[in-house]
């Protein structure tokens, strides 16, 4: 799942999706946590017949945003808050192929003005993650390559036409991701990942819409695709993680938010963010991990300057031993 997501309809959502992505990445990491003996992190897969699952809560907020290139606030919305509760699962089909799922429920609200928030099930995503290669580097480390193909699909008919309060874009998406990472036994960890996401057209409830310099006489909106990448590094050992990362999303087309107008579903939404991830193994409860992920938007275009915190716990079941491990 990590892959598909960078794309979000509204400024405020971009954050939540981003964190979902990170989340997915970490998820993978989490699953590998029990494999202390080997190398870890993204390169490491959840091993066969294990299921790593949990619920994450994400709180995302911004009160400034970029209207095209213009950095501003807006008295009609104040701060936009997005709360997401996601069910997450990662199943080890084999040691080299993992299946991942995310099911998010999203609620939005504005602190000023009269606009009603939206709430509901957003887009579920499914991913197949495959480890392509693992190359030992010296005795103490390894470089791993992974590919992820993922797709996401709206679970409900929520409107994409109420940005920045819409739950999402209502676009079906397919994404291809490649990840390279290096982990040393002493915990040194480096990761680089990049994805391209194809987004299907979106249908509005109205017969025309204005974007990118013209009125389209159609209810169908072409969604530009999205490119993203992230680089990160830090420490990761014995179920404990402390990683910082930098990421960028680039929408490959789309118009700017017009002056004093609301965002539009196909806007060119770009951002760069810094983030951090902490995982802590819970004392005495084997296979249960506590997660905290933080993100801050450094710069953007047609997105909110959001700060995001995601937190949750993941537990790993092992079906090789005739059911749950514990």
């Amino acid at each position: 799942m990590g892959s598909g997501f960078k794309i979000v309809p509204d400024p405020k959502l971009s954050v939540s999706s981003l964190k979902l992505v990170l989340l997915a990445v970490m998820l993978t990491a989490a699953s590998s946590s029990e494999l202390h003996g080997q190398t870890t992190e993204d390169g490491i897969m959840l091993s066969k017949l294990k299921y790593c699952t949990g619920v994450f809560y994400t709180y995302d907020k911004w009160d400034h945003y970029w209207e095209g290139p213009l950095y501003r606030s807006n008295g009609n919305i104040g701060a936009i808050t997005t709360r997401t509760i996601s069910y997450i699962g990662n199943y080890g089909l084999t040691d080299h192929i993992n299946l991942l799922i995310t099911v998010p429920h999203v609620s939005t609200s504005a602190s000023q003005g009269v606009l009603h928030g939206q709430s509901g099930w957003q887009d579920s995503s499914f991913a197949v993650k495959a480890k392509l290669a693992s190359v030992p580097i010296g005795r103490m480390g390894a470089l791993r390559a992974i590919a992820v193909v993922s797709g996401s699909i709206p679970m409900t008919k929520y409107t994409p036409d109420d940005a920045p309060l819409s739950l999402g874009t209502q676009s079906k998406q397919i994404s291809g991701r490649g990840t390279l990472n290096y982990l040393r036994r002493n915990g040194v960890y480096l990761n680089g990942s990049s994805a391209y996401t194809w987004r299907g057209n979106v249908q509005l409830d109205r017969p025309s819409y204005y974007t990118n310099g013209q009125l389209y006489f159609s209810d169908e909106v072409a969604m530009p695709n999205v490119f993203d990448y992230s680089v990160g590094g830090g420490y990761r050992k014995n179920d404990t993680t402390l990683v910082v990362s930098y990421s960028q999303h680039q929408t490959r087309g789309g118009g700017d938010i017009r002056p004093q107008d609301a965002p539009f579903v196909s806007n060119r939404m770009n951002d760069s963010k810094i983030g951090g991830t902490i995982t802590i193994p819970l004392p005495r409860v084997h296979d249960l991990q506590y997660w905290v992920i933080l993100n801050h938007t450094l710069n953007g275009r047609n997105v909110g300057e959001s700060n995001t915190i995601t937190t949750g716990m993941l537990y790993t079941f092992d079906f090789r031993r005739n059911g749950s491990k514990r």
């Binding site: 192929i97 392509l132 190359v135 580097i137 397919i174 109205r206 013209q214």
Partner: protein, 543 residues
């Protein structure tokens, strides 16, 4: 560095296993490399990526009119005193060498036609009045942007004398748009009636009829070619649109030039047909421009003294006055638009058609209405929410009047109307929409009634809240007037128009924008206003 791809084989095996599991039939060759995941991704992706191109122009079917409406030169005028208010000298005879040279020029142009020119001919062949209405909706949506606030919380105002400054002139909000649609449509209709008068006075055959070497590249509209109706439209629309949307002059001029050239290349008009049409279009546009300059619109924004007085008047009546809920608070939208000149109504008619006052802001009836709004907003269904967004018609849209022009389009094309009758349809529809806007604005600022979200801040709206008083609902007023006129013109669609009007009106209750009484009074007023136009249409000579 030696890159030993140790897991390659194993990966391939597992992927194959996975694919078998998923019952996917993928060519084995695809799986021979570990990068297959990427390839598979690309393939899936190609599926998702297809069909991305969205046509930006309206899809219109070409048709031949069932009647040329040869008598349209006698149909009632609206602003002009009669067709001869604009003079047009007789054209040269067919035998005239100058005219013969014009025909030869068309032959040459047809022989050298470019793909772009063919596309332009196809575009305009669907009907100039329809295409210009499409452009008008385009311009309204483009200019439908409220000014951004200044740092001190005040708002700059668009300035017609300096249209390119920030904020651009105009802000084509619903009243501005209603007036614009009506001026352009009426000017075009008047100009085409003048053109029809001269067409049948001079009876010059179309080029493709008088010269067998000229092909008809557009449907034969069966009308004499002098003056060219296409050039009339180009002339009248270019002047009116540049008056109303001055920052778009380049685009407007290019369209006008393209329409004239398309008419010529299509074998429909010669250079002298076009020159005559252009002169008529421009002359009629000048008459309508003069009317626009003095119709009261320039004063419609009011000033801070007027804004304060509106609140003071409501307070003196014991009512809670409307306040802007924009952040920061914005001056009310066009408070004196209710005094702008109408097409089919006298100022006394506007007063006569005023709705009775809304429930008092402190009354039991009003708290009941607030309860209804709360209930509608908090228990909205997904269908109702879709209706809210269908009819939002807020910022960056053609506005509710434009939405009704859009609704009329398939009925117009389906009726196989002559060009002058298409223009009549748009003129009647948009006169009623403008008059409804004026009547509605008169009531809004007479009563200065607060929005539901002002009286009860717990009420949140599902779409943007307009920055003007609630009573009566503009959506309801516009829609009922439009449905009334369209129902008269297209009786087979009357119940559909009516259902659309009610849906548009109710969308404002679902959205938390309006009380039930705003909607019922707006629908009633709109229908009554629409009848003024229908009464004119019954006796205008076109039936």
């Amino acid at each position: 560095m030696t890159t030993t791809m140790i897991p390659k084989k194993k990966t391939k095996r597992t992927i194959l296993k996975l694919l078998r599991l998923l019952k996917l039939r993928t060519p084995l060759s695809l799986l021979k490399r570990p990068e297959m995941s990427a390839l598979l991704g690309l393939a899936l992706v190609a599926l998702a990526g297809c069909g991305k191109t969205i046509r930006s122009t309206e899809t219109l079917t070409l048709y031949s009119a069932v009647s040329a409406d040869a008598k349209a030169g006698t149909w009632s005028m609206i602003v002009l005193t009669g067709p001869t208010q604009v003079a047009l000298a007789a054209p040269a005879l067919a035998s005239d060498p100058g005219y013969q040279a014009e025909l030869v020029a068309i032959e040459s142009a047809q022989a050298a036609i470019t793909p772009d020119q063919q596309a332009a001919v196809q575009y305009w062949a669907a009907g100039g009045a329809l295409r210009w209405n499409e452009e008008l909706r385009q311009l309204v949506a483009r200019q439908d942007l409220p000014p951004s606030p200044n740092a001190d919380g005040s708002y700059p105002a668009p300035n017609a004398a300096n249209p390119f400054a920030n904020p651009q002139f105009p802000f084509s909000n619903p009243p501005y748009a209603a007036r614009a649609y009506s001026y352009v449509s009426v000017a075009q209709y008047e100009a085409l009636k003048v053109a029809w008068y001269y067409k049948y006075q001079y009876n010059r055959a179309a080029p493709f009829k008088s010269d067998s070497k000229i092909k008809a590249l557009m449907p034969d509209n069966q009308v004499p070619s002098f003056p060219s109706e296409d050039a009339v439209e180009a002339g009248v629309n270019a002047v009116m649109l540049k008056l109303l949307f001055p920052t778009n002059a380049t685009e407007i001029d290019a369209l006008a030039a393209q329409q004239q050239q398309a008419a010529m290349i299509a074998g429909r008009a010669t250079a002298s047909d076009i020159a005559a049409g252009l002169s008529i279009g421009q002359a009629v546009a000048a008459i309508l421009s003069a009317r626009a300059a003095t119709d009261g619109f320039k004063a419609a924004s009011g000033n801070s003294a007027i804004w304060s007085q509106l609140a003071a008047t409501a307070t003196a009546k014991g009512e809670v006055p409307w306040i802007s809920q924009d952040g920061p608070p914005r001056p009310p939208m066009l408070p004196l638009f209710g005094a702008v000149k109408t097409w089919m109504m006298q100022p006394s008619d506007i007063i006569n058609e005023r709705p009775a006052p809304p429930p008092g802001t402190h009354s039991l009836a009003m708290s009941g209405e607030l309860g209804e709004v709360r209930n509608a907003v908090n228990n909205i269904s997904s269908d109702q929410l879709a209706t809210v967004y269908k009819w939002a018609d807020g910022v960056s849209t053609p506005t509710p009047p434009g939405h009704w022009d859009f609704i009329a389009v398939p009925y117009i094309t389906g009726a196989l109307m002559s060009e002058v009758r298409v223009a009549r349809t748009f003129a009647l529809l948009n006169m009623a929409l403008h008059d409804a806007g004026v009547a509605c604005w008169d009531a809004k600022y007479l009563y200065f009634n607060p929005r539901p979200s002002q009286l009860d801040p717990s009420i949140k709206t599902w779409t943007g809240l307009p920055n003007f008083p609630a009573y009566v609902s503009g959506h309801s007023d516009f829609s009922a007037a439009a449905a009334d006129v369209l129902g008269y013109l297209f009786p087979s669609g009357a119940s559909y128009f009516d259902s659309q009007a009610k849906e548009a009106a109710m969308s404002r209750l679902y959205g938390g924008i309006h009380y039930p009484s705003d909607i019922s009074a707006g629908l009633t007023q709109g229908k009554r206003v629409g009848e003024y136009t229908v009464r004119f249409a019954r006796t205008d000579g076109a039936n």
